[in-house]
């Protein structure tokens, strides 16, 4: 089906830096423009290769073959994964100049690298950089500072574009062997390990800022000299460690999601139900406490002022 590239008597063709950059920008903009279940980023890969194909191949049959070659299923993380495109562009350039690189070689590089780089790339971009910057932006925005979203946007998009351009050019310059060597060197592993430390610290602080769980309930323990005595659950817990309950709640949620594999959607429903039941004015009806519900929205319910009788 595919046209074999003639290997003799062809003029040398080489790509300019502009061609490689043009391809990079086409991918950066349109990698997910036609994201679909059948080929995922397949047509986007082909679009990104159009400046390369236009420069390297003049024979219409070779152009058709190159388009078919790059319209197949493809999916990776678009920024870090650009290293694949760089390596493939380098291979196409060698092929056009008569090197013995067939369709299978190019396909195997694409399909062989897209999985591992999707894993590494998603861990770096969606799993580490994004949540850390989001966490900082969210923290600022919550304090009423509009620099939060602006700072996040500028840093995130700047870092992602820089990372993507770097990986793309690395792929083109090093070629397929260089990319494989880079994956083995362990540098990426160190970056991920360091990002894990930073991510945990920031995430812990975010949990302290956003997760709130206040016990409103003050059970009556008895009456002393005509004054109702209450047991202050929230106050007792807070005296051990401020914020102990939300911390335990986050760890419980993590355990349910990660260890027990509970669906997050189910958990969502359960937590909303807990909140609604917790907000119900049980004790207003039974008048055992001035704090009407199990849970409270903002802060501890003040210990009720002692009232005569019970």
């Amino acid at each position: 089906m595919t046209a074999e590239a003639p290997q003799v008597d062809r003029p040398q063709v080489s790509l300019s830096k502009g061609d490689v950059q043009r391809s990079f920008w086409l991918w950066t903009f349109f990698s997910h423009a036609n994201y679909n279940y059948e080929r995922l980023q397949g047509t986007a890969f082909a679009q990104a290769m159009t400046p390369i194909i236009r420069r390297l191949y003049k024979d219409p049959e070779e152009i058709k073959a190159a388009l078919r070659r790059h319209l197949v299923f493809f999916n990776t993380e678009p920024n870090v994964g650009g290293v694949i495109h760089g390596a493939v562009i380098a291979m196409e350039e060698q092929r056009a100049n008569g090197a013995d690189i067939d369709d299978d070689a190019i396909n195997s590089v694409k399909t062989g690298l897209m999985g591992p780089l999707a894993g590494i790339g998603d861990t770096i971009s969606q799993g580490t950089i994004t949540p850390i910057l989001l966490t900082i932006g969210i923290g600022l925005a919550t304090q009423g500072n509009i620099l939060g979203p602006i700072l996040y946007f500028v840093l995130e998009v700047g870092i992602m574009l820089g990372l993507a351009y770097f990986m793309w050019m690395q792929g083109y310059e090093r070629g397929r062997e260089g990319v494989t060597a880079m994956l083995r060197s362990g540098l990426l592993d160190r970056v991920i390990a360091g990002a894990g430390v930073l991510g945990n610290l920031v995430l812990g602080a975010l949990a302290a800022q956003f997760v709130t769980l206040w016990i409103g309930w003050h059970p009556v323990t008895g009456t002393v000299q005509d004054q109702t005595q209450y047991f202050d659950i929230q106050g007792t817990v807070s005296s051990i460690l401020p914020g102990l309950l939300p911390l335990l709640f986050v760890i419980l949620t993590w355990w349910l999601l990660a260890r027990r594999r509970v669906s997050p959607i189910l958990l969502l429903g359960v937590y909303v139900a807990i909140a609604m039941i917790g907000a119900w004015d049980f004790f207003g009806f039974f008048s055992t406490s001035d704090c009407g519900s199990f849970l409270n929205a903002f802060g501890a319910c003040a210990v009720p002022t002692p009232s005569p009788g019970g």
């Binding site: 059948e38 219409p60 600022l140 602080a205 914020g243 911390l247 993590w254 907000a279």
Partner: protein, 304 residues
Amino acid sequence: MTRTLSLLRSPKIVAAAISMGIFGALLVAGPVFGADGDSTGVSLFQALLIGLGYYLSNSPWLAGNGGFFGFYRPLVAGFIVGIILGDPVKGAEIGAAINVLYLGFISAGGSIPADPSVAGWVGTALAIGGGLDAQQAVVFGVAVGLVGTVIFFTRMSVDAVFAHWADARAEEGDLRGVAMMNWLPPQIFLFIISVIPATVAVYAGSAVVADWINWLSSNAPWVLKGFQIAGGLLPAIGIAMNMRFIFRGAAIPYFFVGYLLFVYGRTFTPQLNLVAIAIVGVALAFLHVHLLGDRAVQQRGTVR
């Protein structure tokens, strides 16, 4: 200069410039026009802007990354909705609160558990239009975000058709045609299926939400209190989703350090923010990797 002119000949660049230009101009004009209409609620014009912003967040026009990593995030979306509705600070606060739930959001291989962009654009608009505070808005954002996945899955299914159109162009050896099939038809389709529902939801929905909240506050105030309590509980899910990937191995203790640092730091200086924590984090990360060397990377885990 010639390079700039040659760029203008590309229909893609022109389309990107026009869509961003229109949105930018409307963004400035939004609060002005909005103020002319009835003082409460969201005007049709504002709703249309929000629908357009939602489309942009899923489109390629903001250099790809500016969409998925920028406008797609409720923090950014909420801020822009706030600008459109005349209260950027409140928009940013609501967007931030909704975004905590999606801290663990990872889109991998064409599957998403919920749609943060719908939660951010439509959820924030409904919350501001309905007069909810940031904590109450979280429940709304989640609900809208779950419904919004319908648009994503529709798009992922229908777009496969355009891949076959691209195949047909490839058989002609038509480079320009193949490139065009990747962006023009799918983006027209996405524009239609995202702008219309989002605009209608914001325009019609905000009045409904406002009425509903009014009714609740006089008849069942505990429901609103429940929303607030849920706004404190649900972030635990977003944070825990993210912890699945990084709360492991030698990095685990740092989570508790960060938590306590913030709890106690806040009692000393209420101005303490996460920028300071992040700087400490960079220092600790450097020390950790430097001191542990290769042992630091043994608990490596990736998203997939």
